[in-house]
């Protein structure tokens, strides 16, 4: 009995006090939990942003869930998530591996790769809009008629243009993450492999890739959950058009809330976004395996 109490005391004095988490928790409560609760409440109300807030029950929810526009927004969002992941992961992983090397020119290239990361999404969108203009854009400037496509006006093309621009902007960020991951892999692993006669490609698949497991999970989580927040770029670039072909869920939420002034419906959409974001993030964390403290460096 007395030893039990003693050990608890010991644990208390050994670790940092739980009170130190209070400021962070307070912030979290004020800026995340309370607004989240507010949004859930609003989703059961009718409010145009001006008059009184009236109770609407499930009206907004039935309207949202039966609307083909919402279903379409969900499909488009899923496409953006999947394609963004498929496009961005291999590119940023390879670039990350490449610039993790130590040669001099790589530092210069690395700096150049990071330029898109420094630009605001709105600036990127406006620049691409101008570049893709069929009459006065890149096609005209470089005199390559093949570039004069109906990039943003063709419903079949516009989504891929959006995915491309998103990748252009965010690949540098994920490259940075992978670069860090690669640099942490002990050189001795590669030396051993070389002695065993493994070539570059074999080394990549048998050492680099498995060693990057947690980096991949981190990068993918940010990529997938981030896809749910690509609002500014799409809003400025296409406004969701042509038609509804690039109206992703966060954009649909914004247009419903701040253009159509239907705060109830927009809040319901926000709740859906939160649930999807939470679920995806949890699933990705699970992919890391149950025993996350298992060593990746056994035998070293």
């Amino acid at each position: 009995m007395s030893t039990h109490i003693g050990s608890r005391r010991a644990r208390h004095t050994a670790g940092p006090s739980g009170w130190m988490a209070v400021p962070a928790l307070l912030f979290f409560l004020v800026f995340a939990i309370i607004p989240l609760g507010g949004v859930v409440l609003l989703s059961f109300s009718n409010w145009n942003g001006l008059g009184a807030i009236t109770w609407a029950g499930l009206a907004s929810w039935t309207e949202i869930l039966t609307s083909p526009v919402t279903i379409n927004a969900l499909v488009v969002t899923a496409k953006v998530i999947v394609y963004s992941f498929l496009v961005q992961t291999p590119i940023s992983m390879l670039l990350g591996v490449f610039i993790a090397g130590s040669q001099k020119y790589r530092a210069l290239l690395a700096v150049l790769y990071f330029v898109p990361l420094l630009l605001s999404s709105a600036a990127v969108a406006i620049a691409y809009k101008a570049l893709l203009d069929p009459n006065f854009g890149l096609a005209q400037g470089l005199n390559i008629p093949a570039l004069a496509q109906n990039w943003l006006g063709n419903p079949d093309l516009a989504l891929f243009v959006v995915i491309f621009v998103i990748a252009w902007q965010f690949v540098p960020f994920h490259t940075l993450i992978y670069q860090g991951g690669v640099r942490q892999i002990p050189a001795s692993l590669y030396e051993a492999a070389e002695i065993d006669g493994a070539g570059r490609i074999k080394q990549f698949f048998h050492i680099t890739l498995p060693q990057l497991k947690y980096t991949i999970i981190t990068s993918s989580t940010l990529m997938v959950v981030g896809s749910l927040a690509y609002f500014d770029l799409v809003f400025v670039l296409t406004g969701g058009g042509p038609g509804y072909s690039t109206r992703i869920l966060p954009l649909h939420m914004y247009l419903t809330g701040f253009e159509a002034n239907a705060m109830g419906a927009a809040s319901a959409l926000a709740v859906i976004l939160v649930v999807i974001g939470l679920t995806l993030a949890l699933v990705l964390q699970r992919l890391g395996g149950k025993d996350r403290s298992a060593s990746q460096l056994e035998g070293l």
């Binding site: 800026f31 995340a32 607004p35 989240l36 949004v39 009718n46 145009n48 942003g49 001006l50 008059g51 309207e63 406006i126 809009k129 101008a130 893709l132 203009d133 069929p134 009459n135 006065f136 004069a148 496509q149 109906n150 990039w151 943003l152 006006g153 063709n154 419903p155 989580t221 959950v225 981030g226 749910l228 927040a229 296409t238 969701g240 058009g241 042509p242 038609g243 509804y244 966060p250 939420m253 914004y254 247009l255 419903t256 809330g257 701040f258 253009e259 159509a260 002034n261 927009a266 809040s267 926000a270 976004l273 939160v274 974001g277 939470l278 993030a281 949890l282 964390q285 699970r286 996350r292």
Partner: protein
């Protein structure tokens, strides 16, 4: 195990708030520029007649030092979000800048703006200043809630005279003439019509004019009044069919749905000789003067009214566009603020200097009896045309995206986009739009 679970839970929540934080954007209200008490404030938009407002407020302050006023300017989209949350929170300015239409109606419904009918009855000279067709757009349920504050902006069919000479044609006066011009321009390797389709509201001009020419202004009056089934009017179907015919015939420039009007990429084909015609607001005249002064000065820029439609019911002089922007007075303001506001509306709004300064920006003030002033302007040809257009128009219809409720406008613009893309039929369009009326009535 448990801590691990909570940790991943926390990560997930943190990630989700990332997407949630979006919900907060746009709702940030102003800190202290508004307010129920204190100074009389005016919120307006940057650009255009910004210096005119500013100078008028200075003049007022000089003449009325005991009733000071101040003016702040915001970018268009930022303003639209700000003013709504500010008014909702009772923090709005004394002078509310507006467009009339659906938004003004929502202000009236929630008692945010002052009834100015009595003020105008007591001051007939103020009421008499404005063109009646324009003043009408500040009226809700027979009462005046808003007075014009800048310029009248009809939508005009511009053309490139040189390109018309090249194929030996005249600007179209009827829809059939317009359709006949399409293959002729195409043969000559010229795009018949430029259109900034990516911006969506640009497509709307074609529909607004066609519905008016075919069925008269009453068709849209019924739509705006939310009469059940109003969108199924045969005039709407015919207008949409005509639009799709024109798209099909290659009337609009290649890749028009990739062209954004906000950067002026729809106007550029006209002055660079790529496209022969453009339907746009009178405001792009000023843009063209800046972007291509030699084109405007050489007299190659022509303009005309929207073509008539054979056996259509609408008067060919009817116009659509922005009759003007408007001032409304905040109903939550203090008595002193309201008095100051009324004084400004009476003495300073559209006084001689104000009118002169608006004309100098290349725009037409919506007031009576300014023919001589317009004659003296370097842009007299265009300004007189636009002024006479507004003066003679039996009706001056507000752009539909402003006239309807914002939710309906969003659905309308997106579905009209689908019409131009040929993805839906006119019938599908009217069915979807009738659905918005039922929803509106149910709320």
């Amino acid at each position: 195990m448990k801590t691990r679970k909570t940790r991943s839970m926390a990560t997930a929540i943190a990630a989700a708030t990332l997407s949630l934080s979006l919900a907060a954007c746009g709702s940030s209200g102003p800190a202290d520029t508004g307010g129920g008490n204190g100074e009389t404030t005016m919120w307006s938009l940057t650009g255009g007649p910004e210096p005119v407002y500013e100078a008028s407020v200075e003049r007022w302050n000089e003449n009325n030092p005991e009733q000071p006023m101040s003016v702040s300017f915001f970018a268009n989209d930022a303003y639209k979000n700000k003013i709504r949350s500010a008014l909702g929170a009772g923090q709005g300015p004394t002078f509310i800048f507006g467009w009339g239409g659906g938004v003004l109606e929502s202000y009236v419904e929630t008692n945010k703006v002052m009834d100015l009918t009595g003020f105008l009855e007591n001051n007939p000279d103020v009421k008499d200043r404005f063109l009646p067709s324009v003043l009408e757009n500040g009226v809700v349920d027979g009462k005046n809630y808003a007075l014009p504050n800048n310029s009248t902006q009809p939508k005009v069919l511009y053309h490139n005279k040189q390109l018309f000479e090249e194929i030996g044609a005249q600007p179209p006066e009827t829809w059939d003439e317009l359709m006949a011009l399409v293959p002729r321009f195409e043969e000559a390797g010229i795009a018949p019509i430029s259109l900034g389709g990516q911006s969506k509201w640009t497509n709307l001009m074609w529909m607004e004019y066609l519905v008016d020419r075919i069925g008269g202004p009453e068709v849209f009056d019924r739509i705006a009044a939310n009469e059940p089934g109003a969108w199924s009017d045969p005039a709407v179907i015919e207008a949409l069919t005509k639009i799709q015919d024109l798209v099909e015939a290659g009337g609009f420039i290649d890749g028009f749905s990739s062209i954004a009007a906000d950067s002026g990429a729809d106007v550029a084909p006209l002055y660079t000789g790529k496209a022969a015609m453009l339907l746009q607001g009178s405001w792009v005249y000023t843009d063209m003067k800046t972007a291509a002064p030699e084109f405007v000065e050489s007299g190659d820029l022509g303009w005309s009214k929207f073509p008539a439609v054979k056996s259509g019911e609408g008067h060919p002089d009817n116009i659509v566009g922005n009759p003007s922007n408007f001032w409304s007075i905040n109903a939550d303001g203090s008595g002193a603020q309201k008095e100051t506001a009324k004084g400004y509306l009476k003495d300073t709004l559209f006084d001689e200097t104000y009118i002169q300064e608006i004309i100098e920006t290349g725009a037409v003030p919506p007031v009576k009896g300014i023919e001589d002033e317009l004659q003296e302007s370097p842009d007299s040809d265009f300004l007189t045309f636009a002024y006479e257009m507004a003066q003679e128009a039996p009706t001056f219809q507000l752009s539909w995206d402003q006239a309807l409720s914002p939710g309906q406008a969003d659905t309308m613009l997106t579905n009209l986009d689908l019409i131009f893309l040929g993805e839906i039929t006119p019938k599908q369009f009217t069915e979807t739009m009738n659905g918005t009326i039922e929803q509106g009535a149910g709320q």
